[in-house]
Amino acid sequence: VAPEPTNTVEEPLDLIRLSLDERIYVKMRNDRELRGRLHAYDQHLNMILGDVEETVTTVEIDEETYEELYKSTKRNIPMLFVRGDGVVLVAPPLRVG
């Protein structure tokens, strides 16, 4: 796809560029979420995130009651390379805007 001139409608990736050096929220496959500062990205959505909190969410189902128990595990990572093929969604962290 030929790149659009900058005075016409921006591509979605141009709008991600506006989030550089800002904190962002990333939703990944396999029920993972990341919150961190966006240092770099490319067209594959490979990203370098700093000061990251990763949340992994699992669901356990009680065999007797069939109750769904949601568990989330968090960990902090100072600097992280994210491979783009796992990325589903990128957004500013939840805030009114």
Binding site: V1, V9, E10, E11, P12, L13, L15, I16, Y25, R29, Q43, H44, L45, G84, D85, V87, V88, L89, V90, A91, P92, L94, R95, V96, G97
Partner: protein
């Protein structure tokens, strides 16, 4: 919306600004206003709401949904783009 013949890129420019639902094959729905779209089907939506079964999260501002970047033709996440157009018709794009 005009039904005259047009190229796909003309169509993509025309649907910008319309309310859309993007349904991922994971079962999650994203509803909002289509901000922009590119040739790889990366999508930017404004005023996005995320629905998993019931309503899960509200995302305000822009949300970027990753398109199909796999050049071997396999879709990383299959998406259905549903457009609601003026009450005359709705149609779905399978991405």
């Amino acid at each position: 919306m005009s039904l005259r013949k047009q190229t796909p890129s003309d169509f993509l420019k025309q649907i910008i600004g319309r309310p859309v639902v993007v349904k991922l094959n994971s079962g999650v729905d994203y509803r909002g206003v289509l901000a922009c779209l590119d040739g790889y089907m990366n999508i930017a939506i404004e005023q996005t709401e995320e629905y998993v079964n019931g309503q899960l999260k509200n995302k305000y501002g822009d949300a970027f949904l990753r398109g199909n970047n796999d050049l071997m033709g396999k879709s990383t996440t299959r998406k259905t783009l549903t457009l609601y157009s003026d009450g005359f018709f709705s149609f779905k794009m399978f991405l």
